[in-house]
Point group: C2
Chain length 338, copies 2
DNA sequence: TTGTAAGCGTTATCAG
DNA sequence: CTGATAACGCTTACAA
């Protein structure tokens, strides 16, 4: 393994000079030395040893992508097809900026702290953080933290999120405009200050605006695994009163459609369904799923931009960016008029 | 940050002793010292610094999950919903064994080498490796390499794969048994010694066995992005002669079904479709997709077991494990008889 | 313009 | 049973 020392010896200079050249602190080094060092680096195939760098600088160029395992969710972040969509974008952008991505699942706050110190982690991405002890810990960190899809706020922390409230509102409003009144709300568990909570508010406000009374027995909180979503669809089929359902994730919506169909119901003729996310799946179901669109790769890219600005100590003008959503009309909602 | 030195001072012993206790080299240390050291570790919150460890031991507990960017594929591994299914399993199992997972996309062989040396990477996972210069480089590494879904073989390298040939054969045979003869083969590009190549052989052999002539104009090599798959479906609808299509990935199959439907064809009445992988999507399309099942999380788990055995220098009895597949009959294939 | 030397946290060797 | 000490590769004052 070629080290700085090897380069220094080969060229006949000191380690300092080599190190300086490597870091572009080239002010005090002659053109010729620079050239010879650069050549030696190439021919000897020098690669910096990050462990050594990290040891001396207590910074590692490692960015952690953290999946916080809450008690009920057993699998790690990458299980979720939606999340995996932007993790690719994150790796790419980080790499282009000279950083490395570590994936890590943590269960407790101290798991997280240990991880950070084990590697001198330089920065952190997290998704779906709530107002709890874990968030508390995050906000006390000295390294940059960028949250994705989280409704918790702190001066130290950047957020990239979505118009979730608007999404919930627009989806519901769309159903109402099509003449629906008995609109079910299906989602994973609605936790305060969470993405789903926001969409839920949008749903309720749209109802209220249309003077449709909110009914608690129309909200269905479910796990997102395929069996439960399909089962939910089947049981929804039994509810004669419901004419439409707003599901806060496309995979949920698709599962419901499948269950509905299994129970002999036709979408959208018997019951309308609208989703959220606009993943590819929406174009593969039949009927194709009407949904609220969001741009997942852009989310990832923006998250990394935030991260880079913070790592470079650039001033952050705005800690939050909220990406727009819009409705994509396809075939899963029927108008009750005419 | 608490270091070994801090612990040593607190307890009143040397760093060596602390280090020994940490590593269970406890033979030569008194019970009492051990207890006191352990307590100090707890109360002071000591966490080992991996950079330092890595520096001195040239091993880092970092395992790389490599995505090899070939010229045509632009995005990184995690973009693929299928791959993300087992990457979660990998992170989990690695973590349980005290390792860390780095995700990294590389374009060239030297990118890879640089990455390895930068971090003293202890082991590597790769998917979809072909017989090329990149593989050459992998097989010359001194660290454990575990390949997933690759048909290249080398004494240094472990493989976890699938009965791809059988899958291709069984899928095709199933269609033939249902009376189909004009069976299209749809897949991403068929590269020698690749997963798809094997499935293709299975397809051809099943045809041959049934004395159905193989026709090159029935094979469709396509990208897997949703637009092209749907377009393929639509264009397949124009081919009056085809009665069934075997797609080597469920996302492909689903796209084709969608395109077919868009072009006014009914699956399976007008044309039958069979997929491969058995991802959740299969139960969300309508008709539900008949497919070849594989166990993706198990793949991930086994890959890690291989990795652990190699890292522990356990003897590897068998460098290859081939997971079984089986047919899952759903609704997308129609029998042409009666 | 370049070099010396200390030190980052850990482990391993060898000597008490 | 325990402790010095050197070494891993790199950066950074400080010297020259």
């Amino acid at each position: 393994m070629t080290t700085i020392k090897d380069i220094a010896q080969a060229v006949g200079v000191s380690c300092t000079t080599v190190s300086n050249v490597i870091h572009g602190k080239t002010g005090r080094v002659s053109e010729e030395t620079i050239a010879r060092i650069k050549e030696a680096i190439d021919t000897l195939g020098y690669v910096p040893n990050m462990s050594a760098r990290s040891l001396v600088s207590s910074s590692s160029k490692v960015i952690g992508m953290i999946s916080h395992l809450t008690s009920n969710k057993k699998e790690s972040i990458v299980e979720d097809p939606f999340h995996s969509a932007f993790i690719g974008a994150i790796e790419k952008t980080l790499r282009e900026n000279g950083y490395y991505l570590m994936l890590r699942t943590v269960e407790t706050t101290s798991d997280l702290m240990n991880f950070l110190r084990t590697w001198n982690v330089d920065g952190l991405f997290c998704t779906g953080v709530f107002q709890d002890e874990f968030f508390e810990a995050l906000s006390n960190l000295t390294i940059p933290v960028v949250l994705i899809d989280s409704y918790v706020s702190h001066p130290n922390i950047c957020n990239v999120g979505l118009e979730d409230y608007d999404g919930g509102y627009i989806a519901t409003r769309y159903l109402i405009d099509k003449g629906h009144e008995k609109i079910a709300f299906a989602s994973p568990s609605i936790r305060e200050k969470g993405v789903v909570f926001e969409r839920f508010q949008g749903y309720k406000d749209a109802l209220k605006e249309a003077s449709i009374p909110f009914r608690q027995d129309l909200v269905f909180e479910q796990e997102l695994d395929i069996d439960t979503t399909i089962a939910l669809g089947s049981s929804l089929a039994l509810r004669k009163d419901i004419t439409a359902v707003f599901a806060t994730a496309d995979i949920l919506a698709a599962g419901i459609m499948s269950g509905l169909k299994q129970a002999g119901k036709k979408v959208p003729d018997d019951i309308s369904v609208i989703g959220f996310d606009d993943i590819n799946l929406c174009r593969l179901t039949s009927p194709k799923l009407t949904t609220i669109h969001q741009d997942a790769p852009l989310k990832g890219k923006l998250a990394v931009y935030f991260m880079m600005d913070k790592l470079d100590n650039k001033p952050i003008l705005n800690r939050e960016v909220i990406l727009p959503i819009h409705l994509v009309e396809r075939e899963s909602v029927k108008s009750l008029y005419q």
